[in-house]
Symmetry: C2
Subunit: 464 residues, 2 copies
């Protein structure tokens, strides 16, 4: 990067807000995906005003800017693939306003998502979306990726809780969009377009989120099945009984055994699949829902149904699910984690299809995930040094995406497109869909400087 550019950045961010030595760049060259690219400079914003100045500068000088929270994304969203500047937001972590009467909180975008609950718990409120990264990812990153999590079926995802956003647009304009009101129809509905925009349309600096009352009671159960199909069918049947569990997680035999090898969580090693289910709300209501869940399990030749008798038992159950990915990572040197998603009724087809693909390409696969909302995480367990296995994995992933699309599902339920799934987006949304995305990107960012190279190829982009 030119000396004059670094000087201008130093003026905006002062000395402790900028890094540009080659060795410092490495930590900002990757996220939780498998892609790396080192930036030319890294800046640490502490105010919306600094970000406004940064974008005015970047636009004048034609320098790409890639926003970054904690770099925990799974699709390459914060990797500076076109080099330029990485803008880190995690120093902007202030709580700006807590408004319990209206069940709202306003925070800076760099706040860690799990830091919200301790603040709002004082008023018996909570923030429902809980992606796996909730204890380290930033709320701004969650919004940019429209993060999901374990409670999607009952409580929805990040986009369902975003009320207002302060955004710095690519050319440096600052806009506040949305409203604190439950109902607001003045102008186009713009805040949702920034949710899940993967940092391509603007830099989110402040957010107002909706909160819900903490449920008074929870019931948790582990249901064990002898066949994958019974477990998947049980999910559909539970919904058909009119029950909406707050959590309904699935783990297959490979995942169960990986977990048990990692830590004993009392999971049955010989079961083909388990469902980990939670209902919440008023005590009678949560208990009543759990009774219906047992009925659905009985319909699908379940092997056992055990209620967690106390918090300790409950925590142990959920720990098994929470450590699943780390446990699978211990089985083979590498893993490819996907998030292809279908509607619930197609879960049996999806699970069957994943197993067939794994068999066809002679790959080891662990399947776990959010069965309640059809969002599974098929995880191929591989060794990247095994070239032949890598080739087979690539083919298997392609076939997996095709399967999800054929089942009217989506290639990404919660991880985003970024770089990892960019080659497959057109299969999902068609060329007219890609055209629409390009048109919108051009409207906000005609020079394609904000997080360039992601999601789709922008015409006349410097992207190769």
């Amino acid at each position: 990067m030119k000396k004059s550019h670094l000087e201008e950045l130093s003026t905006i961010f002062e000395n402790d807000g900028i890094l540009h030595q080659q060795e410092d760049m490495i930590a900002y060259s990757y996220d939780a995906s498998h892609i790396e690219k080192t930036p030319e400079a890294v800046v640490f914003a502490t105010s919306t005003d600094q970000i406004c100045k940064l974008m005015q500068f970047a636009y004048r000088e034609d320098i790409p800017v890639t926003p970054r929270g904690q770099g925990s994304g799974l699709s390459g969203g914060s990797v500076p693939i076109e080099k330029g500047i990485v803008l880190v937001l995690d120093r902007m972590r202030k709580m700006l306003d807590f408004d319990p009467e209206n069940r709202l909180i306003t925070v800076e975008a760099g706040m860690t998502t799990s830091d919200i609950d301790p603040i709002v718990a004082s008023a018996d409120l909570f923030y429902p979306p809980d992606p796996g990264s909730v204890t380290f990812s930033t709320i701004g990153g969650n919004i940019a990726e429209n993060a999901g999590g374990l409670r999607g079926l009952k409580y929805g995802v990040t986009k369902d809780y975003v009320k207002m956003l302060k955004v710095v647009l690519p050319k440096g304009d600052i806009v506040t969009i949305g409203s604190k009101c439950v109902k607001h129809v003045a102008g186009f509905n713009l805040e949702p377009i920034f949710v899940g925009s993967e940092g391509l349309l603007g830099i989110i600096t402040e957010v107002t989120l909706a909160l819900l009352p903490i449920p008074k009671h929870r019931e948790s159960a582990l249901v064990v099945f002898n066949t994958l199909n019974d477990a998947a069918q049980c999910v559909s049947d539970i919904i058909a009984y009119g029950v909406t569990p707050s959590t309904m997680e699935f783990m297959d035999k490979t995942t169960i055994n990986a977990v048990q090898n990692f830590k004993d969580c009392n999971l049955p090693r010989d079961a083909e699949a388990v469902l980990l289910i939670e209902t919440d709300g008023e005590k009678n209501s949560a208990i009543g829902e759990m009774k219906n869940i047992k009925k659905a399990a009985e319909k699908n030749s379940f092997r056992s149904f055990s209620l967690a008798g106390n918090t300790k038992e409950r925590d142990l159950l959920f720990e098994g699910r929470r450590i699943a990915l780390n446990a699978l990572a211990n089985v083979k040197p590498n893993l490819i984690l996907e998030d292809a998603t279908v509607v619930r009724s197609k879960l049996p087809d999806m699970v069957r299809g994943i197993c067939e693909i794994a068999t066809k390409y002679n790959l080891m696969v662990g399947i776990f995930g959010h069965a309640g909302d059809g969002n599974l995480h098929p995880t191929f367990l591989i060794d990247k040094n095994d070239t032949d296995e890598m080739k087979r994995t690539e083919k298997a992933v392609k076939e997996l995406f095709r399967l999800a699309i054929d089942l009217e599902g989506t290639i990404s339920g919660e991880h985003g497109i970024g770089l990892e799934k960019k080659p497959f987006l057109e299969d999902q949304i068609g060329s007219a869909g890609i055209q629409l995305l390009c048109d919108i990107k051009r409207t906000f960012d005609p020079k394609n400087l904000l997080n360039p190279g992601k999601m789709f190829d922008f015409p006349n982009s410097t992207s190769n």
Copy 2:
């Protein structure tokens, strides 16, 4: 309209799908607002394909097109202010797919919204948004206006239920956006931008909506107050108790008396205000919530609290609320109905402010509306032939919008901007906000031919 244009339209829509005689135009020149303009032709679509051809034709020939459902909008959204063609969608009313397993229904956009519930009730499901016009407005119109209704507090508004849309873009391209999946992050979140876009960005032809299980039990109560402030404060206190009623409607003394003059609904004529509250869910849970509501009422010197003992009593209570607008329309020759909205905690300030404005301009006002979500309907009762009163009303409305904005609220909670509130939108969202709307409109509709003249002034528009 030129003969050759009419001939081309006749080719697309056949003889029974087009009107162009002057006398036929009148019925398509107005909606439920106070603005009229006659179109040059009216066409009745029966397929997405016809609409695609219409837009290709309109774009080639530079003819404005204004989409219309049942013309029940309250802000002028379907009035063809730039003349041209009115496109009526109410012949597209087919149910395309009911998918109870995934709690989804797909219908054509011209279906009347209340026609959805009888279809889905067979699987114990319902479609929650219930605008006042639910029995005659189309679901496409509801989506274009992001319609609200009585259940917003607990169940949200139209945008919270739109999963997928088939849309004909202004130049004639057909796109399908969104996903049936609970989680979907492949590409920008585009469907919400069409929800509430008031027919400016595309023509919605098919919609997939999320459904919820019908609550097993309801509790309904009428709470009577001696002061407006007590009623408004009670709303905030109910929420503070962690209760989320499914309905919490407010009526002031003027409205109560107008209703009682219209039909005896057992409302107390001498009360300053009443709240009509409903809780729903599992029986114990709904009853428990209602107990907390009574506690909040006691805190605010309520005069009486009466539970509906049976369906008949409940229906009578709700009838009083449902006929409120018609009842107020009987008090004076005309009325100006507004939907300025604030966050719940600001309701006491808002109610006080409305009364002060009415006093200042010597106007009669009835206040009713959805107190639970801060969405009141202050309704000025006037005689349009009284020039002085009209002038005072205009000033009062302007001051009302200012009050809503000053209280961090919105000039429109559920009726939309259209023509009625267009002069006030910049006060709400600022010039940067207007610029963003123009940029997005230009992206979709560079010639400004789809519903031109609405919401904001488009630069180089033919709008005067």
